[in-house]
């Protein structure tokens, strides 16, 4: 039985992963913004077999609250074996191009506030010398494209930050997993036109659980995104700038 903290527990991928943890009989602490949704998930996970489920509603991007929330987690759950950092927003790229405050907000939510969580968590995990930190990044962070470079830059920053963190924490026995999902059928992509590349959050959750068990470092999910992104990264810049990606 593991103690698991989920930051961003109402996100679709986190929900599916939490169901799997609950089915194993783990203890869960859920952090999310929307109390009503947390209540629904709380009941669901308890029925599915979680040994304990506790939740707290908070604005996760507000870094001033992070230390206090973690204290609350440690008090009610104990120090977690696994932390899943799963929240994020996909803002309107076109709006961000016109309005810095919007881009700033995207960075606050998708990069800066995760860095705050990870800074606090990394030190606690390092002290204990065990456990796993799972961070949801995105394939969008692998190369800047005109259609979503603001989101992409934030996720790219997060990927590099967790990469460095993994390198640092490796020496103290802490596992850091960077997850790069491709297109997933979630509220975040509700307005996107769906094609065959879209997969369900349940599938992504299954891949993450497996990667967590095998202590993998970087997970592309589904697997073929590793090759799609490899090709995209290999395109020379002089050609890439001409493409409408």
């Amino acid at each position: 039985m593991k103690k698991i903290l989920i930051i961003g527990a109402t996100s679709a991928i986190a929900r599916e992963l939490a169901k799997r943890f609950a089915g194993r009989g783990d203890k869960l602490f859920l952090l999310g913004r929307d109390e009503g949704k947390l209540q629904i998930i709380h009941a669901d996970l308890q029925i599915r077999g979680a040994a304990k489920v506790v939740y707290a509603a908070a604005d996760l991007a507000n870094t001033e609250k992070h230390a206090g929330l973690l204290q609350q987690v440690y008090k009610t759950l104990g120090e977690p074996d696994v932390v899943l950092l799963a929240y994020g927003t996909l803002g309107e790229q076109a709006q961000g191009e016109q309005d810095y405050t919007m881009a700033q907000q995207e960075f606050q939510t998708n990069f800066l506030s995760p860095v705050s969580w990870l800074t606090l968590l990394a030190n606690d995990f390092a002290r204990r010398g065990s456990g796993s930190i799972v961070v949801l990044s995105s394939v969008a962070g692998d190369r800047g494209r005109q259609s979503n470079y603001i989101y992409g830059a934030a996720k790219g920053g997060l990927s590099i930050f967790t990469q460095g963190l993994r390198n640092r924490l490796y020496h103290s026995g802490v596992h850091v997993l960077t997850v790069k999902p491709g297109f997933t059928d979630t509220p975040m992509t509700a307005d996107m036109k769906k094609n065959f590349l879209f997969v369900s959050p349940a599938k992504v959750a299954r891949d993450i659980e497996q990667a967590l068990e095998k202590r993998q470092t970087i997970l592309y999910t589904p697997w073929f995104w590793r090759f799609i992104m490899l090709v995209i990264k290999l395109i020379p810049e002089w050609l890439f700038i001409k493409l409408k990606l």
């Binding site: 629904i40 998930i41 669901d44 029925i47 059928d185 769906k194 094609n195 879209f198």
Partner: protein, 433 residues
């Protein structure tokens, strides 16, 4: 999630989809004249789950369990939860669905909206008989808590109401206790339809259904295998038979010629003779017993890209001559496919205004889509059904005439005042025009 089709893949229609992510979501804004229709897993065989030119509400993400009383076997969940998800929760703790259709890949909302039935109809009635309460959200934002006692008129309109009365947000229903996941099964071979009737009459099992060879004629008309079962007694060990988790899948549409008279006849004959003894008994895991076809993913593709029809009717069984006549018409047409299913329903009165099950003999058969020829045959069957006091099942229909529907379901006019003004379906527009 690319296309929202019905399971028989006919008709093929275009419609917009709105995915509901939370049961607390409000219904999407719609344009003047546009309508909505809840859609679960699209396992109905027809246009009750389609809304051409309108929008459908994808409810698959409304998949949370809300409350489970493990002592009393009362479960409340959101309407997008599937029977498969429910079974994996309740079986390990000794409970089972009170009523289940032949697939576990349907949503709870669909089970209510079609007031589905199963192999235990003669003992347990429909799914609707086991509902304690549910919540209905209307497009004007009003919410009705419905049970046989509270808002009973809304309960009656929504159970079997084909999703037209609003969005069912959650359902609470009663489970039945079991000792283990096993079924004690007895299979009896019967040589013709008369034997089927005497077997049905004599059967003392909780579950019974018969497989019919829809191609057999003459003395063998109506031959098949009668399968009956009970939940197994406690002495059987859980580990006795593990389910086979390997799944077959049909990855592509089979070309049209794969299923023809000869190949089906061969299959049916082999299937009929696979059991040499008259009676065989044994233990089965619940999955192959209740859901034999769920083992083959996308089995609907064997009928090819043109899709197929399923036909299910119920007829009073005090007149076996009519039933024989009907079987003869089907056998002579040479169009029936395998998977003919027969059962005798009990006389438990259905609760819904438009519920299908009623006392009598029910027959369900697949027909490959041969266009006009098939439509003519099915229309001829409708005529026989209507002349003899039977009805056809809306959840499996894509083509019955408005006239027949209105004759089969005289309550349809009472239904009108409960239909949400912003909800509609291809089926409803077709049969009420």
């Amino acid at each position: 999630m690319l296309a929202y089709q019905s399971w028989n893949r006919y008709p093929s229609v275009r419609q917009k989809a709105d995915i509901l992510h939370w049961a607390t979501d409000v219904l999407p804004d719609i344009q003047q004249g546009e309508t909505l229709l809840p859609y679960g897993l699209g396992r109905s065989y027809g246009d009750v789950c389609l809304n051409q030119g309108g929008r459908i509400l994808d409810t698959q993400n409304l998949n949370h369990f809300l409350h489970f009383d493990r002592a009393k076997g009362i479960l409340r969940c959101e309407s997008g939860v599937t029977l498969a998800q429910i079974l994996s929760l309740i079986i390990p703790v000794g409970w089972f669905l009170p009523v289940t259709p032949g697939t576990q890949f349907i949503t709870l909302g669909g089970a209510v909206a079609n007031d589905v039935h199963g192999k235990n109809h003669h003992c347990a009635g429909n799914f609707g008989h086991h509902i304690r309460q549910f919540e209905l959200l209307r497009s004007d934002g009003s919410v009705y808590l419905c049970s046989p006692q509270q808002n009973p008129e809304w309960f009656r309109a929504t159970v079997g109401g084909l999703g037209l009365t609003g969005l069912i947000r959650w359902v609470e229903f009663q489970l039945i206790p079991i000792n283990n996941p096993l079924i004690e099964v007895e299979t009896v071979k019967f040589a013709n339809i008369d034997e089927f009737f005497s077997l049905s009459k004599a059967s003392a099992f909780d579950y019974s259904v018969a497989w019919l060879d829809g191609m057999a004629k003459g003395k063998s008309l109506g031959r098949g295998l009668f399968m009956q079962g009970n939940h197994a007694a406690p002495q059987w060990n859980h580990g006795y038979c593990m389910k086979n988790t390997r799944k077959l899948s049909i990855p592509i549409d089979f070309p049209g010629f794969t299923l023809n008279k000869l190949s089906i006849k061969l299959f049916n004959t082999l299937y009929y003779h696979k059991q040499i003894k008259k009676v065989s008994t044994g233990l089965a895991h619940y999955l192959p017993f209740f859901y034999p076809l769920d083992g083959v993913e996308n089995w609907n593709r064997i009928y090819g890209a043109k899709g197929f029809f399923q036909y299910q009717c119920v007829l009073p069984y005090d007149n076996p001559a009519v039933i024989k006549e009907m079987l003869k018409t089907i056998a002579n047409s040479g169009q029936a496919s395998f998977l003919g299913v027969m059962k005798v329903f009990g006389d438990i009165q259905s609760l819904g205004l438009l519920s299908f099950p009623r006392k009598g003999f029910t027959l369900a058969l697949d027909f490959r889509n041969h266009g006009e020829k098939t439509l003519r045959l099915l229309e001829a069957l409708d005529v026989m059904v209507s002349a003899n006091g039977g009805v056809v099942y809306p959840a499996k229909d894509t083509r019955m005439s408005a006239q027949h529907f209105q004759q089969f379901y005289p309550n349809w006019e009472d239904m009108l005042k409960f239909i949400d003004p912003h909800f509609s379906s291809g089926f409803w527009r077709r049969v009420t025009k």
